[in-house]
Symmetry: C2
Subunit: 410 residues, 2 copies
C-alpha cells in the first residue's frame, strides 16, 4: 500500500490522555483511536495486525478440531439467572440495557451460559461427545477504571473456546492439550520467552485454574516465577498447596509484574447442570456434560506484544503479525525507481507499505521506527540501483541488490 493513500497519519507529540505504553505508541502510529477509556477503534494498520492475530489463533483452534461459531452480545436474563450470574451483586461488571417493552438485557461479558444452552439443543448421546467450539467475538465489561490502553477494555475482542466432555478424565486430556496449544499461540506471537504457565486459585467452579502470564512492567498481576521449572504461582493465591502442585522451589521464586494473557478453566458440571445439558451414556444412564472454558483476548494480546516489543523510538512487530512485512522508503526526487521495486516486491508476494510521500528523509525514518514494520528498505540516489536494508530491531544496515533482497527475506 502507498503510504500517501493511508488515511491515518502519525502523531509527533505524546498523547495526553494515555498513560500506558501500548496506547501511546498505537495511537501515535495510527493503529487505534480512543472513543472512550477502554473502547478503541481499530484503524487500517491496527485492524491488519488484529486480523493477523485472529487468523493465527483461528489456525491453532481449528488444528485441535474446534468449530467456530459467533454468539451474541445481547443476552436475556433467564439463562444467567439459572446459573446464578445475572445479579449485579454477583457479577459487578455487567453492562445492562432494555428492550422497548422494558425487558432488561445484558451485554455478554463471557458466554458459558449461552453455549451450554445451545449445546443442550444438539447433545443427547455419548456419541455426540466430546467436542469443542470457539468464537472470536466482542465482549463488554463495565470496568470502573480502564487505564491500560487496549489491554483492559470495556469493549474488547475475546477468543473463548468451550469444551464438552463425557467425564473428568476425557476433559483432563483436552485441558492438558490446550496448555500446549496456548503456548504455541504465545510462541507465534513472540511472547513465549516471557510467558509462564501460572497456577492460581479462587474460581467458584474449581479449586485451581491455570493462567498464562507474560512478564511486563505494564502488568497488573504479580507472579512468583520459578525459572528452572518454568512455572509460576499467582502471588495473591500463593500457599503451600500450590507450591506442592507446581513443584516450585519456594527459595528460588522471583517476583515479577505480569499481564494475564490467557486462562483455562475446568468448569465441571456447573453450567451444564444449569442449562440441563445432559447425555445418555453407553449404559443408558443420564449424566451431566463436563465443561471447560479457555479464554484469550486478541486485543489484549496486541497490547501485550507492544508492551514487550518496543524501544524508545516505537513498536517492533514480530513478523507474523506485523501490518506489513516490508516498509519501502523512497528518498529519491523521482518515484520511478522506487515504484518499480515496489511492484517487483508485490509481484513476489510481499505485503509492502511504500512511503511515496514528499517529506523529509528524517521524518520518514522516524515514522518507520514508530510504526515498527520488520524490514526497512531505503531507495536513494547515493545507493545507485541497490537497496539499503535494515531490520527494525537491529542497527546495522546492508546494501544489496533487489535479487539478493528477495532471497534474504523469502
Amino acid at each position: 500500500m502507498k503510504q500517501s493513500q493511508l488515511f491515518t497519519k502519525t502523531l509527533k507529540e505524546k498523547v495526553k490522555d494515555e498513560i500506558s505504553i501500548n496506547a501511546q505508541l498505537l495511537t501515535r502510529a495510527g493503529y487505534v483511536h480512543k472513543e472512550i477509556a477502554g473502547v478503541y477503534t481499530y484503524l487500517p494498520l491496527g485492524l491488519k495486525v488484529l486480523n493477523k492475530i485472529n487468523q493465527l489463533i483461528r489456525e491453532e483452534m481449528n488444528a485441535v478440531g474446534s468449530q467456530e461459531v459467533q454468539m451474541t452480545a445481547l443476552q436475556e436474563s433467564k439463562i444467567w439467572e439459572d446459573s446464578g450470574r445475572w445479579s449485579d451483586k454477583v457479577v459487578d461488571n455487567w453492562f445492562k440495557t432494555k428492550l422497548k417493552n422494558g425487558t432488561e438485557l445484558g451485554l455478554g461479558f463471557t458466554h458459558e451460559e449461552p453455549i451450554a444452552n445451545i449445546a443442550a439443543k444438539y447433545v443427547s448421546s455419548y456419541k455426540d461427545l466430546p467436542f469443542s467450539v470457539y468464537q472470536i467475538q466482542t465482549k463488554f465489561r463495565n470496568e470502573i477504571r480502564a487505564k491500560a490502553g487496549i489491554m483492559r477494555g470495556r469493549e474488547f475482542s475475546m477468543k473463548d473456546l468451550y469444551s464438552f466432555s463425557r467425564n473428568k478424565a476425557e476433559h483432563d486430556q483436552f485441558y492438558e492439550k490446550m496448555k500446549g496449544v496456548y503456548m504455541k499461540v504465545f510462541s507465534r506471537l513472540g511472547l513465549a520467552a516471557e510467558t509462564y504457565l501460572t497456577l492460581s486459585s479462587g474460581q467458584p467452579f474449581s479449586k485451581y485454574s491455570y493462567e498464562f502470564q507474560t512478564v511486563s512492567e505494564a502488568g497488573e498481576d504479580i507472579i512468583l516465577v520459578d525459572k528452572e521449572k518454568n512455572i509460576a504461582i499467582n502471588k495473591q493465591d500463593y500457599n503451600d498447596e500450590l507450591v506442592k502442585i507446581t513443584g516450585v522451589n519456594p527459595q528460588k521464586l522471583i517476583e515479577k509484574k505480569a499481564i494475564e494473557v490467557g486462562d483455562i478453566y475446568s468448569l465441571g458440571e456447573k453450567y451444564s447442570q444449569a442449562a440441563n445439558l445432559k447425555y445418555t451414556d453407553e449404559n443408558g444412564k443420564e449424566k451431566n456434560v463436563y465443561m471447560g472454558s479457555y479464554g484469550m483476548s486478541p486485543t489484549r494480546l496486541m497490547g501485550t506484544v507492544v508492551e514487550v516489543h518496543h524501544d524508545e523510538k516505537g513498536i517492533i512487530w514480530p513478523q507474523e503479525i506485523a501490518p506489513f512485512k516490508l516498509h519501502l522508503l523512497n528518498l529519491k526526487k523521482d518515484l520511478t525507481d522506487s515504484e518499480q521495486i515496489y511492484y517487483s516486491l508485490q509481484k513476489a508476494g510481499f505485503d509492502v507499505l511504500f512511503d511515496d510521500r514528499e517529506i523529509s528523509a528524517g521524518v520518514k525514518f522516524a515514522e518507520a521506527d514508530l510504526i515498527g514494520i520488520p524490514y526497512r528498505l531505503v531507495i536513494s540516489d547515493k545507493l545507485g540501483s541497490k537497496i539499503e536494508v535494515k531490520k527494525r530491531e537491529e542497527t546495522e544496515v546492508k546494501i544489496i541488490t533487489l535479487k539478493l533482497l528477495l532471497k534474504e527475506i523469502s
Copy 2:
C-alpha cells in the same frame, strides 16, 4: 468436514416461534440459533456462509480503494448531541446503557458521527482527500418487533462505508461508482436478477437517495418497478418528481414486495460540520468535507438469499457463498471408498461436507436438500466405482467417474 463431527444437527419439525422462511430454514438446517427475537448466534455452517459474504463484500470495497477499519459499539453522547441524533425522540431505536459512574452510553446503530470525528483528526488539506473507509461490524437497533428472522435484527452485522470528498462533483463521481459496486455484490450473491436500484426520498440530509430492493414476498417494502428501464421507485415516496428523475413510465409500473438490501446516501456537509471536519483548499480557503454513506447488511443479505433461493425441501445456496461446494453422501456399509473420494476431493482443493454417519439414505437425502450445498455426490454399492452427481436446483442426476467429476466442477 465429516458430518459426524459437526456439533449441530438438523431439526425435522417446523420451528414453532419463527414465522419467516429464512429463520425457519436456517434454524432447521443448523445455521443459526435464536437467542432473542432479532438476535441470532451463527453456528458453524452459518458462520461459514456469513464469512464468505463478508469476504465477497470486502473484495469489492477494497477494489475501489476503500480502507477497512473497525469502530466501536459503545458510544459517548457528545458527538451524537453535536449532530442532533442522541435524543431518543429523534432516534427511536437506540439501545442505551451506563458506565459505573452513571455516564450514559449508546450502542451504535450507525457510525457517521464517530467516523467523521476520526477523519477530523487526520484531514487538514485538500491533498488528504478524497478517500473512503468501511467496516463490517455489529450494529444494535432497538426494534419494537423483529419477526423477519435474520433480515431485521436487533443485533446484526453491517458493512458501512463512508466517503470523504472535496466537493459535490467529486462526491457524485464516487456515488455513481458505488451504484455499480453494489450491483456487482448483489450479482455475486445471486440476487442481481431480482434487485432494483430504487429511488426514495425523505432523508433529512438530501432530498433523494437510492436504495437497492430485492423483489421477494418476504419484503417489508413495496416498490414500483419499471422492468424495461430496470429501475424502481419506493411506493411510499412516489411522486411526479421521482418519476421525472428515474424516467419510468407511470403506465408500466408493477407493484412488488421487496427487501431493502442496501442504501447509499449523499450526506453533504451535515456530519462534517458537526464534527468540525474541514480542509484547506488549493487557495487556502477552509471548507467542509462532503460525505457519503453506503450501507449493506451481510446478515440481512444472507437472509435475503435464503428467501429468494429455496424450495419446499430447503435452501439452495449460490456457489460463491455456500458453506461447502460439495456434499458427499456415503450410502455404502463400509466407509473406505467414500473416504478415499473425500480425501481426493479435498486434495483437489474442494471444500467438502462428508456425510459419514450411519443413518438411512432417505434421511441423508432430505438433510442434503435442507442444508442446500450446490453439488450432491452419492457413493453407493449399486454405482460401482462411479459417483452420482446432482445439482441442488436440478432433478436429473449424472453417474460419472471421479476424474470426470473433477473436470466438471473445476
